[in-house]
């Protein structure tokens, strides 16, 4: 270390009081004490600033910007290293003595001034020395030195080799000297393609639902529902419930028929059953004999399939339900079965769950009383659906009359049915039965609400026929109707002018027309 300690005193020594001693100018220049001091001060300020920032973060509970902090830290770190180097140089030039000895540091001064190592450091030092001179302690000193030197050379050689190997491997892997790998690890094409494909699948599943849709034949709830759905969805005995097939299949007959067939059964309203219609057997192909207890005749291809499936579904049900549903079916048939287009079915499905509930209270015998009192007017009213209901209502308070009639018959049990039916205005069939006040029928059903004239003429076809013949008559009797309703009926009337035999296709067309009309 160059530059010894040079003290020059400007005044003769020994004179009280001793003045501040100045250092040798050369030393000062060499060591650049001023700059070291300023650097130390600036470092101190930087560190305190960072600490303040941390305090602020802690107080306000915000997350620090780690990039900034790391940057500051690295800067401070570098500065610290430089200063420590400079200070090392400086401190070697000086000897530090405590100037003030007072009560505070009197106790600690001897310890600080002693050059003896701390006990732990001393033992540490000893053990290291032992380790080092293990083999060579016995030999004379020059030989010890030689041996140690040989050891150092060997270690140096090993280090050089290791470094050489590291450099080679770095080159082999393309590592830079300080940066990371210069080329990114690429996946081979196959792997990349697989990942791309998986990604597309996943994104499509999340955003579109692609790949998660079940085929139509699997869209039945066969397993037990999870707890959060168990009380939301109602499942009836047959395992079908208010579950709906997606709209894509709305026109595919097979699918819809399957699903709708069972649900249809629950939907049919209670209406005059068997007894009245025993006498009438329609010659028309698509009318069903009301006498058949459970099975539905298939009058036409479309009906055929529907009823076949209904029949198959009927078979699955337990007996009492079959009976119930059969009766319901008969009533349903009267009102709207024929020509029911496939598009209509979807609108009926959702009522299944509710009607199922409601119809649990129905008993077979209750349906009978309904039929008997049905006079001309009442039957007509009953058969009418939404739009046509207005016809009947304007005929002079039909509904109260009908209600009165109905209420007469409703014993305890009947009233249950009646009130329960009234309680579910959304059901389509129930209004047919009793609560005509509730005009909440799906518009599509309107076209099938044929106003019959005779309770015995239960078939829709017959009713249509009647309407054909009576349409003008009806229009006349319902002279109070607003124009709109007349037009509605006019449409039907017009359609019904065609051949009775071809009524069903017309009804189908009508259905489709109506299908589009409300929209």
């Amino acid at each position: 270390m160059e530059g010894g300690v040079g003290l020059t005193t400007t005044q003769p020594q020994g004179q009280p009081p001793p003045v501040a001693e100045k250092l040798n100018q050369k030393v000062v220049q060499l060591l650049n004490l001023e700059s070291v001091k300023t650097r130390a001060v600036s470092l101190f300020k930087a560190i305190s600033r960072i600490l303040e920032d941390f305090d602020a973060y802690a107080r306000t509970n915000t997350t620090p910007k780690w990039q900034d902090i790391l940057g500051q830290y690295s800067m401070v770190n570098l500065e610290l290293f430089n200063i420590v180097e400079a200070v090392n140089e400086v401190s070697q030039a000086f000897v530090v003595l405590p100037k003030n000895v007072n009560a505070e540091n009197a106790a600690i001064l001897p310890v600080m001034l002693s050059s003896k190592l701390l006990p732990e450091m001393e033992t540490d030092d000893n053990s290291k020395r032992e380790q080092l001179l293990q083999g060579v302690q016995n030999l004379p000193i020059p030989m010890q030195i030689e041996r140690l030197r040989a050891r150092i050379d060997m270690i140096e050689a090993a280090c050089k080799n290791a470094e050489g190997v590291l450099g080679e491997t770095r080159k082999a892997y393309g590592f830079g000297t300080r940066q990371g790998p210069s080329m990114l690890p690429t996946m081979d094409k196959g792997q990349a393609a697989k990942i791309q494909e998986q990604e597309n699948m996943l994104r499509a599943a999340i955003n579109d639902g692609a790949g998660t849709r079940l085929p139509p034949d699997q869209r039945r709830i066969t397993t037990a529902l999870p707890p959060h759905l168990a009380d939301v969805l109602i499942v009836n005995d047959a395992g079908k419930n208010a579950f709906h097939v997606a709209s894509n299949n709305i026109n595919s007959q097979g699918n819809m028929m399957q699903v709708s067939g069972t649900q249809f059964m629950g939907r049919s309203a209670a209406s005059p059953s068997g007894a009245n219609f025993d006498n009438t057997r329609s010659p028309l192909p698509y009318s069903n004999s009301p006498q058949s207890t459970g099975m539905v005749n298939a009058p036409s291809p479309q009906q055929h399939q529907l009823q076949q499936q209904q029949r198959s579904k009927l078979m699955q049900l337990p007996q009492h339900q079959q009976q119930l549903l059969a009766q319901q079916q008969q009533q349903l048939r009267q009102s709207s079965m024929q020509g029911l287009g496939q598009g209509q079915i979807s609108s009926l499905q959702d009522l299944h769950g509710q009607t199922q509930q409601k119809f649990q209270t129905l008993h077979g015998q209750h349906q009978m009383p309904y039929s008997q009192p049905m006079g001309h007017q009442q039957f007509q009213a009953r058969q009418l659906s939404g739009g046509h209901i207005q016809h009947s209502m304007s005929q002079g308070q039909l509904n109260p009359a009908m209600n009165r009639h109905l209420n007469q018959f409703s014993g305890g049990a009947n009233s249950n049915m009646f009130t329960s039916a009234q309680g579910s205005p959304s059901s389509q069939m129930i209004p047919n039965m009793s609560s005509i006040q509730s005009q909440t029928l799906v518009p599509r059903m309107q076209q099938y609400g044929v106003s019959g004239t005779n309770p015995q003429r239960s078939h829709a076809s017959q009713m249509l026929g009647d309407q054909m013949y009576n349409s003008s008559g009806m229009m006349q009797t319902q002279s109070q109707q607003p124009q709109q309703q007349q037009q509605q009926q006019g449409i039907y009337g017009g359609n019904m002018q065609t051949n009775q035999q071809t009524l069903q296709p017309n009804m189908l067309q009508n259905a489709q027309q109506r299908h589009q009309n409300p929209q």
Binding site: T63, L184, P185, T186, M187, A192, I195, Q196, Q198, E199, N200, M201, L202, R203, A205, I206, N207, G209, G211, T212, R213, L214, Q218, R219, R220, I221, T222, T223, L225, P226, P227, H228, L229, D231, V232, L233, A242, F243, H244, V245, A246, S247, I250, G343, S346, S347, D350, L351, G353, Q354, S426, R444, H515, Q519
Partner: protein, 217 residues
Amino acid sequence: MECVVQGIIETQHVEALEILLQGLCGVQRERLRVHELCLKSGPNLGVVSSEVRLLCDLDQPEPTWTVKHVGGAMRGAGADQISVMVRTMIESKVSKNALRMFYALGYKLDHELLKVGFAFHFQRIAHISVSVSSVNKMPKVHAIDEAVPVTPGMQIVDVTAPATPENYSEVAAAVSSFCEFLAPLVHLSKPFISTGVVPTAAAAAASLMSDGGGTTL
């Protein structure tokens, strides 16, 4: 309205992503287990079919239902400049009768998904939610216990933040700046744009999972 970005991550790196998110967000993670039922309206209900999603949060002791309608995304030159997707979204909590009501209205089940994973919700200029989940489909209707992942080796990362028409640009900026922090592990982009995985994700994951290995001075 919401700002949303999506990305994919390999299942092996999900744990590292969780550590990264824990460090960035500063909140506890929440388990995510959502049964999503997507209902579509049939052609009888309108000219254009509409879609409604019912989400049932199965993680709570009492399942909570949410109805969500996702609309179309913002389009145009302005939208192209924003790196997140801004789209209309309406969400509301509903009672468990919502499903029955939608069926009664004429909606039909289009598809259903089960999402299992975790999520972080925190506030950084906007209320940002990050969720990492595996998407499962059900082989039978509503058979949650039999759900299998659509892509076993890959999970989806969703970053969403609700926005209003007045502040969506700030929210979008907040979301995109947050996404930069996740860049080492996952590339995030608008939902219908595929991104691929991050090639160096393995190295980033390794560094996140290790305890750091500090050097002593």
